[in-house]
Subunit: 193 residues, 4 copies
């Protein structure tokens, strides 16, 4: 309904900034649209006009932060899959283990559970590209004969990421670099030709 060409860039940025600050300060659960509007110096309607929910605001905030430094998502290809994979896995574990960074990620994951449209957005704009980057590296390794060719790269990615994700969300045990390496090792054994 609203005309995006009329949209105030100033307000948009203020809202995203305020939202990210507040998430850090009070947590996603206690984040309210009213507080975002107040902090951003914006009317509530301006938020409701452009976002369907606070989750969508936070997603945009995360995406803005991610795209701010548009580091290449794609993995290095040194020729050594094991090393390359170990690198990302360690990085992922580090990020998940950082209470600051993982707070919003938890929030997004939570929100995906009962908002299918939002879930689709997260998958498309945030999750998909990250998983695809890893899948691409694994596919290259398959083509180089370093990994079995009869495994769907997407499944291969889940084999590595799944365990980390499980431990992260359920907090059944600490997420350590060692654990990252252990999981990487096991996955590589499963995928060995």
């Amino acid at each position: 309904m609203p005309d995006p060409s009329r949209r105030s860039e100033r307000s948009r940025r203020a809202i995203l900034t305020a939202a990210m600050e507040l998430v850090r300060e009070v947590g996603y659960r206690k984040l309210t649209i009213e507080a975002i509007a107040a902090r951003a110096g914006v009317g509530k309607q301006t938020i409701y006009r452009w976002w369907p929910s606070k989750a969508a605001v936070v997603l945009d905030g995360v995406l803005a932060a991610v795209n701010e430094d548009p580091h290449d998502l794609s993995l290095p290809d040194t020729g050594d899959v094991a090393a390359d994979l170990r690198g990302v896995v360690r990085a992922i574990v580090a990020e998940l283990d950082d209470p600051e960074l993982s707070g919003t990620t938890r929030a997004l994951t939570v929100e995906m559970q009962d908002d299918p449209e939002f879930a689709e957005m997260v998958r498309e704009r945030l999750l998909g590209p990250q998983l695809r980057a890893i899948a691409d590296r694994l596919r290259a390794a398959q083509e180089a004969g370093q990994l079995r060719a009869d495994v769907d790269p997407a499944v291969a990615v889940e084999l590595v990421i799944g365990p980390l994700y499980h431990r992260w969300l359920l907090r059944t045990a600490p997420l350590t670099p060692d654990y990252a390496d252990t999981v990487t090792g096991l996955a590589l054994r499963a995928l060995a030709p």
Copy 2:
């Protein structure tokens, strides 16, 4: 503070029943303490007296349902790890794929994200026993020389469950029996001696 011996069993059951019904009808997100109290014909205080949060009520409801038919959690040991494991994994996938059954599980998982005490409860009373049952079977296989001995059984369990869990929560792809077998197969290869 309250004296558990004075507790009304009738009210307790009515509350758990009402909570489980309502979760099914409106979903966990729209579940309210007020609605539970109204449906159960109970004062709100009676709920607040015995449970710290609606999540705790639902957890008790789930546990009551699970323990109603106290089927043995432990896996069969036919001597064939692969077959035994494939069995549970398929069962788990089936349960996760059932929208009715997995609704509350999603809710519990969600609630664990920002309530550490509740998370501990879920781990102790619901999750732990289930994971331990699988770990036990894998340990037996290790001792029988069918699986590598140098992998922590808990980690081995995560290797199998993690991917399912990832796909279930993020809905990146459908959870099928085929997928269950694929993951089982890959995990077993990783754990092979």
Copy 3:
């Protein structure tokens, strides 16, 4: 500030028409500037540019309707004050009793209560002329010796109109032609020489 010579006659009429329609449809209380603008196919600013409030718009609407057929406000002078007065009073009562017509009049009266500038406008442009017309007829009767000369004609008018007005606004009893005659009779007795 704005230049009246540039004013769009088309918009002016559309606004007044829309306002009067909406007042009839939803009542003055629920009348909004936004609705007027929308109905008139006009930007809100165009209303704010030319009128200080929605009350002023409605007043202009009423005046436009009244002046559309520019019937002479002045009372007939048949020589018989009683008859002439009874005529207007009946007409006034009839108008006040018409729910359609009196709706906007009520609105104007209401708005006068807390907007002195607007009140002045109503008095000057709508109310004054009407009251003066009656006062003029009574003054003529005084000069003809038919009524006491020591009563301010304006006060005399209030003596007749006041009771009608009271009953109309407070709805303490129905406004009937009979009542009109009763009040006229009493007033004439008070004013008799």
Copy 4:
């Protein structure tokens, strides 16, 4: 729906007090339910639970103020209708002319215009008794042969009050004690036997 026996007297009084204070401070138009709740230290719901509108709150406030000193509404009967009537009319004019006192009265009158239920309440609980008190005195005078018997006392009251009311609401001229006496004199002449 709510059970009046459970009602908090403390809250009721705080709300009425806050409402009357705020009406005096900011006027009826700018009076908001939120402000009343805030000033009274009360949840908004508590107001909505017991009153249908801010007008109803103010009416209750006025009634509470009026009934606080339960002065007899009935007029004195010195045997001299003229004197007795002149007394009340002067008192009424004085009250209407007091900007402080008449503020709420104006508000109630305004609100009556588009809320029939509220109008009925005002008539029943506030206006009726006052008008009836005057009517009673006039009826006594009729029975004593001091006034014409063929005029409905209620109409007689309107003959006196109507003009004051008209001048008060439309502010066509100042409301002075002199005017009170003039109107009283005219009305008595009309009602003379």
